[in-house]
C-alpha cells in the first residue's frame, strides 16, 4: 500500500497526459457530455451517473471526474432552475433548508474523496468512488425499475406512499411548513436527507437521484415542485462543490468545458422529448440505464483492486474487465441516447401528421 501512495499522480498534468496520449479522449468527453445532457434533459435530473464513470473509463482519476462533473452541474442547473423559477415550481424555503445541510455533506465528501486520492492515488480514488457508486445506484436503479413496472401494470398508479406514511408516524419536532410544496417536514429528517444528498453529490456527482425521490416519497412534495426545487438546490450545491474541489486543486476546466460542449446540445433534445415521449418510457430508460452503469462500474472495480495489490489478475483478465466496463457504459449510453432521439423525432412526426388534419395535439 505504501508503494501505491508514493505513486500518487500529479493532478496538474494528468488530463494533459491523457489528451496527449489519446487525443480521441477529448471527443469521448464531448460524447459523454452529449449523452449525459440528453438524459439529463429527458429525465429531469441526473446524467452524472453516466458522465462520472465515463470519464473514469477514459483514464481520469475518480476525484477529478467528480470535480469536473459537479462543476459542470453548477452551470447546467443555473440555466435549468431559471426556467422552473419562472414557472413557480421552486420551494425556495425547502431548497435553502436542504442546501445548508447538503453543503456540510459536500464538504465532508470532498475531504474524504481527497483523502483517498492523496493516500492511495488514482486507483484508490477510483475504487472508493466506484464502490460508493455501485452501492447507492444499484438501490436507486432497482427502486426506479420496480416503480416503472408498477406504473406499467397500473397506469393510474401514483408515487408509492409507503415511505410517506412511515415518516408521518415519526413526526419528530420541530416540524416546518413549506408553503409552495404545502408539506410539513421534521427538521431532523431534513438534516439527515440534506446531508446525504450533499454527500452523494460530492462523492459521485449524483445528488438528484436522492433529493428528488426523498422529496416525493418521504416529504410528500408534488413531483413538479420536487424537480424544480432540486434544480435550485443543484445550482448552489454545484457552486459549493466546484468551489471546494477548486480549493483542493482538483478542477481541470478542460474536462468541464468539453462536457458542456456536448451536454448543452443534448439537454434541449432531451427536454423536448419529455413533452413528446410517454412518462413510462422515461422511467424505464432511466432505471435500466442506471443499472447498466452500475454493472459497468462493477466491472471496473477489479482493475483498481489489482493496482492497489488487493487482488491478482492476469493482464488478459484485467484487460477484459476494463473492456467490458467501457462497452457496458458507452454502449448503454449510446443506445439510450439513440432511443430518446428516435422516440422524440418519431413523436414529432406523428404530431405534425395530426397538425395537417387541422389539430395540433400533444401525442404524449
Amino acid at each position: 500500500m505504501q508503494d501505491v501512495a508514493v505513486q500518487a499522480i500529479d493532478k496538474l498534468n494528468v488530463v494533459s497526459q491523457i489528451f496527449e496520449t489519446t487525443p480521441l479522449t477529448m471527443f469521448g468527453v464531448i460524447l459523454l457530455g452529449f449523452m449525459g445532457g440528453t438524459l439529463s434533459g429527458f429525465i429531469g435530473s441526473g446524467g452524472a451517473f453516466l458522465m462520472t464513470p465515463g470519464m473514469m473509463n477514459l483514464g481520469v482519476p475518480g476525484v477529478m471526474a467528480v470535480a469536473a462533473n459537479i462543476t459542470h452541474k453548477f452551470g447546467k442547473a443555473m440555466m435549468g432552475s431559471k426556467k422552473h423559477g419562472e414557472l413557480g415550481h421552486v420551494d425556495r424555503k425547502l431548497g435553502i433548508y436542504l442546501l445548508i445541510t447538503a453543503c456540510v455533506g459536500i464538504y465532508a465528501a470532498v475531504v474524504v474523496n481527497g483523502y483517498f486520492f492523496e493516500k492511495l492515488g488514482k486507483a484508490g480514488s477510483g475504487l472508493y468512488v466506484s464502490a460508493f457508486f455501485v452501492l447507492t445506484l444499484s438501490i436507486i436503479g432497482y427502486s426506479l425499475l420496480m416503480d416503472a413496472l408498477r406504473t406499467r401494470k397500473d397506469p393510474d398508479a401514483g408515487p408509492s406512499d409507503k415511505l410517506l406514511n412511515m415518516s408521518k408516524k415519526f413526526q419528530l419536532k420541530p416540524m416546518i411548513h413549506f408553503k409552495v410544496a404545502d408539506v410539513k417536514v421534521s427538521f431532523l429528517v431534513l438534516l439527515v436527507i440534506g446531508f446525504f444528498v450533499g454527500y452523494m453529490a460530492g462523492t459521485i456527482g449524483v445528488g438528484g437521484f436522492i433529493g428528488v425521490p426523498a422529496m416525493i416519497y418521504v416529504f410528500g412534495v408534488p413531483t413538479v415542485v420536487a424537480a424544480g426545487t432540486e434544480l435550485f438546490l443543484a445550482m448552489f450545491m454545484g457552486a459549493w462543490g466546484a468551489f471546494n474541489y477548486g480549493l483542493q486543486g482538483y478542477v481541470d476546466l478542460r474536462l468541464t468545458l468539453l462536457l458542456y460542449a456536448g451536454s448543452l446540445v443534448g439537454i434541449y433534445f432531451g427536454a423536448i422529448g419529455t413533452h413528446l415521449v410517454k412518462e413510462l418510457y422515461i422511467r424505464l430508460v432511466t432505471a435500466i440505464l442506471i443499472l447498466l452503469c452500475v454493472v459497468s462500474r462493477m466491472l471496473a472495480i477489479p482493475e483498481y483492486m489489482v493496482q492497489l495489490n488487493i487482488v491478482a489478475l492476469s493482464d488478459r483478465s484485467a484487460a477484459m474487465f476494463e473492456l467490458g466496463s467501457k462497452i457496458f457504459l458507452f454502449g448503454s449510453g449510446i443506445v439510450a441516447t439513440f432511443l430518446i432521439l428516435l422516440w422524440t423525432f418519431q413523436a414529432k412526426a406523428k404530431e405534425d401528421k395530426s397538425a395537417k388534419l387541422g389539430l395540433s395535439p400533444s401525442l404524449k
Binding site: F74, Y250, L257, S362
Partner: protein
C-alpha cells in the same frame, strides 16, 4: 375517404372535444366514426346511447359531414375489437370517455390505444393544452444577439480552451480561494454563452418553432 374515430361517453353536442372532431373533418372528405363508450351494458343504457348518437348524426349531417355510429359496452375486449374493426383511420380522438378500472386493467385505455394503434391517438384535453400553449407568443430568435453568443462560444473554445493548461498551474488548479472563485466565474459565463448559442439547435431540427 379518410376516417377519424371519435370516442366519448357523454356526447354533449357543444363539447369542445366534439368541436375539435368537427374541425378536423370539415372540408377534408373525412368521415367521423362516433364510438359511444357506454357506462354499462344494460339494454336501457345501450338504447339511450343509440338515440343520442342519432341526434348527433342529424346535427352533423347539416354540416355536410358523414358519420357512422357505434355503441360499445364497457368491456375491454369488445371495445378493442370495435376500434380495430374501424381501422384504418387517420386519427383517434378521445373526448370524455369513461374507461372503467376493469377496462384499463384488461388493456383498454388511452395509453393502450396509443401503444397499439399506428395512427395518431390524442385526447381533447391535450389538444386544448397545446392550443393554450400556442396562445402564448413564441419567443422569436434575436439573430443579432445569437451571433454575439456564437462569437463568444467560438472564442471560449478556440482561444480560451487551449490556454487552460497554462492557466491551471497559475490559477485554476492552484488550490487558492481566487482559483475557486475563478472556476465558478468561468463556468457561469461559459454555461450562459454556450447555453444560449445551442438554443438554436431544436429550431434547426424543426422540433421547435
Amino acid at each position: 375517404m379518410k376516417r377519424i374515430i371519435f370516442i366519448d361517453s357523454t356526447w354533449d353536442i357543444n363539447s369542445q372535444a366534439l368541436q375539435y372532431a368537427l374541425k378536423a373533418a370539415k372540408g377534408t372528405d373525412t368521415e367521423i366514426a362516433c364510438v359511444f363508450l357506454a357506462a354499462d351494458d344494460s339494454t336501457e343504457t345501450i338504447g339511450k346511447a343509440g338515440a343520442t348518437l342519432d341526434s348527433v348524426r342529424e346535427n352533423f349531417s347539416s354540416e355536410g359531414i358523414g358519420i357512422s355510429s357505434h355503441v360499445v359496452a364497457p368491456d375491454a375486449e369488445a371495445f378493442m375489437t370495435k376500434i380495430n374493426g374501424l381501422m384504418p383511420a387517420s386519427l383517434v380522438l378521445i373526448g370524455d370517455a369513461a374507461f372503467t378500472n376493469e377496462m384499463k386493467k384488461a388493456g383498454a385505455s388511452v395509453e393502450a390505444l396509443k401503444d397499439k394503434l399506428t395512427c395518431p391517438v390524442t385526447t381533447a384535453d391535450s389538444i386544448h393544452a397545446a392550443h393554450s400553449e400556442k396562445a402564448a407568443p413564441a419567443k422569436k430568435t434575436n439573430w443579432f444577439v445569437w451571433v454575439l453568443y456564437a462569437i463568444g462560444s467560438a472564442l471560449m473554445y478556440g482561444v480560451f480552451f487551449p490556454k487552460i493548461e497554462s492557466l491551471n498551474e497559475k490559477l485554476f488548479m492552484s488550490g487558492t480561494v481566487l482559483g475557486g472563485i475563478s472556476i465558478m466565474a468561468v463556468v457561469a459565463i461559459h454555461a450562459w454563452i454556450w447555453g444560449n448559442t445551442t438554443t438554436i439547435l431544436p429550431k434547426l431540427f424543426r422540433l421547435e418553432k
